[in-house]
């Protein structure tokens, strides 16, 4: 157990205490597990509330702030939050203009946010939802719980957040969020399993020198195991997977995302290979982001997300954002 923790039971509360002393622009309700932008509700502005299991930091708490999320609800490690949290967050941030729930497509997240939406509407809060399901490793069919929400969450939260910041009404913010999700695809690879605080050991066995293709962000094994591949071969595989599925006919945003334990040095090298393959596939990259944004605790590996953008989405992507993990233009 190579963890920097007190006891597994307090990991999330401890982290929230840490965020609360680190970010003066955020209000962190440690007891009720809600991270909020200071000074909300903002008159007349649509609020964005997201959340999910912890262990994916900086997602979602690190994306709270001007031009992105209004609040985030962290659950236990890899466990979606409970409806009480979303309800509390929605009630606190709603200015009357309504709240968009950004929900990653996992059974737990969907069920808990659905319950919260019902309760919030009972309390007079207008709620819209966007389901993020960008992971092409999962076949979206009757035989699965549907595509997982992973890297595209960052694109959805940033771009819809910018629209809300500009004063767009709820249905417009929701429509933009849906559009971003529709235009996004992700494929992820793990080079090691993940160790959760509760389990204290790796959640599955991945021998040195093998990798899992098509992993999610919860330490689940992928669809396929292979012998070690080079960074270039992995880029070929991942980019083909997302490009073949999305078939973009215009410029894309690119996220080369680290799963947590892969050094930035390696991630940059991987980004170079991803750019190479995208160029070969004649997909122009409008903007590119490389780093650990949607992580899986101490898992080694990376994911590639592309999102095809029109001028409007690109403008919203470039708009100012000031959160702990994403910051530009202000």
């Amino acid at each position: 157990m190579r963890m920097l923790i007190n006891v597994p039971e307090t990991v999330v509360a401890d982290a929230l205490r840490g965020m609360s002393v680190t970010y003066p622009d955020l209000t962190v309700d440690v007891e009720h597990r809600v991270v909020m932008r200071k000074g909300v509700p903002y008159e007349g502005k649509v609020a964005l509330v997201s959340g999910g299991g912890s262990g994916h930091e900086p997602l979602h708490g690190g994306f709270v702030g001007r031009g992105m999320l209004t609040a985030a609800c962290p659950g236990e490690v890899f466990t979606s939050p409970v409806p009480d949290q979303m309800l509390r967050a929605a009630a606190a941030v709603d200015s009357g203009a309504g709240v968009l729930f950004v929900v990653k497509n996992y059974t737990g997240d969907v069920l808990n946010f659905d319950m919260a939406a019902e309760l919030a509407e009972d309390e007079g809060v207008q709620v819209a939802k966007v389901l993020v399901n960008d992971d092409v490793a999962v076949t979206d069919s009757l035989y699965t719980a549907g595509r997982r929400g992973t890297g595209a969450t960052l694109f959805v939260e940033k771009i819809a957040g910018a629209a809300a910041e500009e004063g767009a009404p709820l249905d417009r913010v929701a429509a933009i969020a849906h559009q971003v999700n529709e235009m996004s695809r992700t494929f992820g690879v793990a080079l090691s399993a993940v160790t959760t605080p509760a389990k204290g050991g790796p959640t599955f066995d991945l021998p040195d020198g093998e990798l899992e293709l098509g992993i999610g962000i919860h330490g689940e094994p992928g669809r396929e195991r292979r012998g070690m591949m080079t960074s270039g071969e992995i880029a070929d595989f991942a980019v083909d997977a997302v490009v073949d599925d999305l078939r973009p006919d215009g410029p894309v945003l690119l996220l080369v995302n680290g799963m947590g334990a892969t050094p930035l040095l390696e991630l940059y090298g991987f980004a170079a290979e991803v750019h190479r393959v995208l160029a070969q596939r004649q997909v122009p990259v409008a903007r590119s982001l490389v780093g650990n944004y949607v992580t899986s605790l101490d898992m080694a590996g990376a994911s590639v997300t592309i999102c095809q953008v029109d001028e409007e989405l690109l403008r919203l992507w470039d708009a100012p954002v000031a959160t702990p993990a994403l910051r530009w233009g202000c």
């Binding site: 299991g53 659950g75 808990n112 699965t144 389990k199 959640t203």
Partner: protein, 218 residues
């Protein structure tokens, strides 16, 4: 027709069930998490433990006085403290079952069966799973069928719940060869085959706790 002797279920019975179930979950938490590792995200034991601890504390602090109210209270606590897929599903199971029992101070085994059936229907509706999807339903549905069958055969409360527990356990084991079609395990496709479903396993524990409560009362 009256309920057979020893078959009355009151609030106290369900409060004792809650104690037994919580202990059983505490005991089996690591095992549930272990089951949730190869085909899930290794949190099911922790989720169930957190929920049942909270439920027991809530029920101890303000003991509800009807069986329906006990189940509703437990369901509400699970929804408020568990999260994940299992929180809303088990929460719905128990809230629906509790509501279907109404305000009666004691209920018969048949009423309990009908309530559980209502709860399980709620789970199926909410989660959209069908039998053999490799979920908790694969323990819950056979359990209720067995309970029903035993009841029709005139069994005592302890007997019908023992039958249900056996069926639930068999149902949980029978998830091993299945290919998951719901929940996280479905992401694995064929690689989900060969593992027992954690939710079906916890369902079997909860029904075994019912049987044990009845047996200790008998």
């Amino acid at each position: 027709m009256n309920a057979p002797t020893g078959s009355a279920v009151d609030a106290d019975f369900l409060r004792r069930w809650l104690g037994t179930a919580t202990e059983s979950i505490e005991r089996e938490a690591d095992h549930l998490t272990e089951l949730d590792s190869p085909i899930g995200d290794a949190d099911h034991g922790g989720n169930m433990r957190r929920g049942f601890r909270a439920a027991r504390t809530a029920v101890e602090q303000e003991p509800p006085d009807t069986p329906g109210a006990v189940l509703v209270a437990v369901g509400r606590q699970l929804i408020s403290t568990v999260g994940g897929a299992s929180g809303p599903l088990y929460g719905t199971l128990l809230r629906r079952a509790g509501k279907s029992l109404g305000d009666e101070p004691t209920v018969t085994a048949a009423q309990l069966r009908d309530a559980l059936r209502a709860g399980v229907d709620g789970v199926a509706q909410l989660g959209g799973a069908v039998p053999e999807d490799k979920t908790m339903l694969d323990a819950l549905l056979p359990a209720i069928d067995a309970l029903s069958g035993a009841l029709d055969a005139g069994g005592s409360l302890a007997e019908v719940l023992a039958a249900a527990a056996q069926a639930a356990e068999d149902g949980a084991k029978a998830t091993i060869p299945l290919r998951a079609r719901k929940g996280r395990a479905s992401y694995l496709g064929d690689r989900s085959i060969g593992h027992q479903d954690p939710g079906a396993t916890s369902s079997a524990l909860l029904i075994a706790a019912l049987a044990q409560t009845a047996q200790e009362a008998a």
